[in-house]
């Protein structure tokens, strides 16, 4: 290694402008400029503090040592076998229409059903798509959905992202089987920046499952994800995030969904793994008849910390959104849900609902639930509700009186409680996967 390379290796080992340069090496000029501007925003934006309402319960300054993390800038593990844990998770999947595999922030394989490719469906490494000059990437990457201006982490991601997914389904094309992203993070103490950009054109249909896994880490390991979802008129999109990182994992995602006229854009966030999970989800209803079902499901134990910050922005009239987040918390786990429905001026005929329910399984577990409404239109139907409850002793006795051991009874009640969320998921394949993942986790409770 020459002296110069050694120095470069050294500087790109920290989060800084040189890492931005490294991540953008080989990028077209527009993208390098966009990264650089994003870095400026990052530097100009203070780290979210506990004093701000939105970060009150997640102390990033304490939990996330940004300065000590080594950014993954997208060197693929070309030719090497996939990690065992990732292969196991992939083997559980039912049939897919396509799959992208991403290891340590670099796409290592892309597969797509040939018939779909022939119909114009594009599934690609985001980095490759950007370099190939795909016009939507330049138009939509970090512009309308998750721009750098959104905050410290959106800016960091826009500056440092190494790879991710670009998926476009053309007008009228229906992809009935799931398209999957299977991600793995292997290196402790690293920071991985991934972006997902999905465009469902008019009257198309797709379902996408984004699964992330990792081994246990003894040091904080960041996986930061920006998810940009566009559902054009009459399209149907389903996005599922399945977070199953190991201990030490810090999962931080900014998701924004843009649903146009008569389209649906449904999401499910499942948080089971990692030490800290923070998800900021903003659903924007941009056209009349737009619909977003927003589901969430979390199961925390040990000292896991999950924080969901959701917003439902009803910009257009006569749109519908319905949020249901349910979580069970055991050990000394903490769950935070903060949700707001914003009905903008002129959004008459809005139907918007928001429900968060928590099941507390131990004395040390804590759930905080903060639902909120902000309504600037009349003639709307909105409701929000939150509950924090314990296992029903009467239900446990009922089950035990049929011979179930206490753990079996508890498991069944918890599974039933969380199952309500899964039963609302329209597409098959995902449900089994999530059920298995929760059951695997419940086995150790």
């Amino acid at each position: 290694m020459s002296q110069a390379t050694a120095v470069r290796e050294e500087v790109r080992r920290v989060i800084g402008r040189s890492a931005v340069m490294a991540a953008g090496a080989g990028d077209p000029a527009w993208l390098r400029a966009r990264r650089s501007e994003a870095w400026d925003v990052f530097e100009a934006t203070p780290l979210p503090s506990k004093r701000s309402e939105e970060w009150r319960y997640t102390d990033v300054a304490r939990l996330l040592p940004l300065d000590g993390l080594v950014p993954n800038v997208g060197e693929a593990i070309a030719g090497r076998a996939l990690p065992e844990g990732l292969r196991r998770a992939m083997a559980q999947d039912r049939e897919s229409a396509g799959r992208i595999v991403d290891v340590d922030g670099a796409v290592v394989s892309v597969e797509l059903d040939e018939a779909l490719a022939a119909q114009g469906v594009v599934l690609a490494s985001l980095r490759d798509a950007a370099r190939a000059g795909v016009p939507e990437v330049e138009a939509l990457l970090a512009t309308e959905a998750v721009p750098a201006a959104d905050g410290k982490f959106p800016a960091l991601n826009a500056a440092l992202w190494s790879d991710g997914v670009f998926l476009r389904v053309p007008r009228g094309v229906r992809v009935d089987r799931t398209i999957r992203l299977s991600r793995w993070v292997s290196q402790p103490g690293t920071a991985t920046f991934t972006r997902i950009l999905i465009v469902a054109e008019e009257r198309s249909r797709l379902s996408f499952v984004d699964e992330i896994l990792s081994p246990h880490f003894s040091t904080v390991t960041l996986a930061n994800t920006a998810v940009e979802l566009f559902s054009r008129g009459g399209a149907q999109v389903q996005y599922v995030s399945l977070q199953r990182m190991g201990e030490g994992g810090f999962y931080l995602a900014n998701q924004r969904t843009l649903a146009e006229r008569d389209s649906t854009l449904d999401t499910l966030n499942v948080a089971l793994g990692g030490s800290v999970g923070r998800i900021d989800l903003n659903a924007r209803l941009l056209g009349p008849g737009a619909n977003s079902d927003m589901l969430g499901l979390y199961f925390g134990d040990t000292d896991q910390h999950f924080d969901f910050n959701t917003s439902q922005d009803h910009v257009a009239p006569h749109a519908h959104s319905d949020l249901l987040y349910k979580g069970a918390l055991d050990g000394a786990a903490r769950g935070v849900f903060r949700g707001i429905i914003r009905v903008h001026e002129g959004a008459q005929g809005t139907d918007a609902y928001q429900t968060n329910r928590n099941l507390i399984l131990s004395d040390k577990a804590i759930a905080t639930s903060l639902p909120n409404l902000e309504i600037e239109a009349d003639d709307v139907r909105c409701s929000h509700g939150a509950t924090v409850g314990q296992l029903d002793a009467e239900a446990l006795f009922y089950l035990m009186s049929r011979g179930l051991r206490r753990e079996q009874a508890e498991r069944l009640v918890v599974m039933g409680f969380l199952g309500e969320v899964l039963s609302k998921l329209p597409l098959g394949g995902v449900v089994e996967k999530v059920t298995q993942a929760i059951e695997a986790k419940l086995r150790y409770v």
């Binding site: 009922y398 089950l399 049929r402 011979g403 179930l404 009640v413 409680f417 199952g419």
Partner: protein, 257 residues
């Protein structure tokens, strides 16, 4: 037939755990294998409390006397151990378990009866479930519904009987299973109980009821009258007929005196 009782309740005193309310004030009851005993008594006299103490409800505590089941001290056992030993209680107020299907619940209940490492044969289970549902005139789709969630009163009671029929207990304590059933449903329930007893003539039943009606379908060997936490009379089926005619007033007066 062995003449020692399957259930022996002796001088049982019980109340609400961590409270001073005394509900059962010395109950004696011996049920031999194959016998059917009915318990009647006014509201609030302690019938459900007796049933729940037998099943091991954590809200109640025995403060005196004892309960033996097949010679074992039942009060020392956890509710699941009692169930495994063969005790079944059909609840007066069955509990809703949202999101858990009846089939899944029963499968887990049967699985829990197997040794560690042994797996329930799913095919056998399906067959048993179907056969039991047919016996009880139940639609197969019923088993896919979440346990008691949104059930009508009658559906809840039928679900209790279905569970009993699948789990095949040695002792079935039925707490007002006949309340809230229409005439057809009552006959279905009675048919279920009698079919189980045909399969296992040693199965014993403790039937709590307010109505003589059910006793013409499930014919008791003995009828007990409970007033204010005590059995004040025991006798043959005629006791129920007398009660039907006279009510509890006589017993109340006698007891108050």
């Amino acid at each position: 037939m062995d003449d020692s009782p399957i259930l022996a309740v002796t001088g049982l005193e019980a109340g609400v755990a961590d409270g001073d309310l005394e509900i059962l004030k010395g109950v004696d009851l011996a049920i031999r294998p194959g016998e059917i005993h009915a318990i009647m008594g006014p509201n609030g006299s302690g019938k459900s409390t007796l049933a729940k103490v037998i099943a091991g409800h954590p809200e109640y505590e025995a403060t005196g006397g004892g309960v033996a089941f097949g010679g074992e001290d039942l009060l020392e056992m956890e509710p699941d151990e009692r169930a495994q030993a063969g005790v079944f209680m059909a609840f007066q107020y069955p509990v809703e378990i949202p999101g858990v299907s009846i089939a899944n619940f029963l499968r887990t209940a049967l699985q829990s009866r197997l040794e560690d490492g042994e797996e329930l044969d799913l095919f056998d289970f399906q067959e048993l479930l179907m056969e039991r549902m047919e016996l009880l005139d139940m639609d197969l789709a019923f088993a896919q519904r979440p346990v008691n969630d949104g059930f009508s009163g009658g559906e809840k009671k039928r679900n209790e009987i279905l569970q009993m029929a699948v789990l095949k207990p040695a002792l079935a304590v039925m707490d007002e299973t006949d309340s809230g059933l229409d005439i057809d449903a009552l006959q279905v329930v009675a048919r279920g109980v009698n079919a189980l007893r045909e399969e296992n003539p040693e199965m014993s039943v403790l039937l709590i009821t307010h109505y003589q009606r059910v006793l013409s379908h499930i014919v008791p060997d003995t009828v007990h009258v409970v007033v204010d936490g005590r059995i004040v009379e025991s006798g043959g089926p005629e006791v129920a007929l007398e009660l039907e005619a006279q009510g509890y007033e006589e017993y109340r007066k006698a007891h108050a005196a």
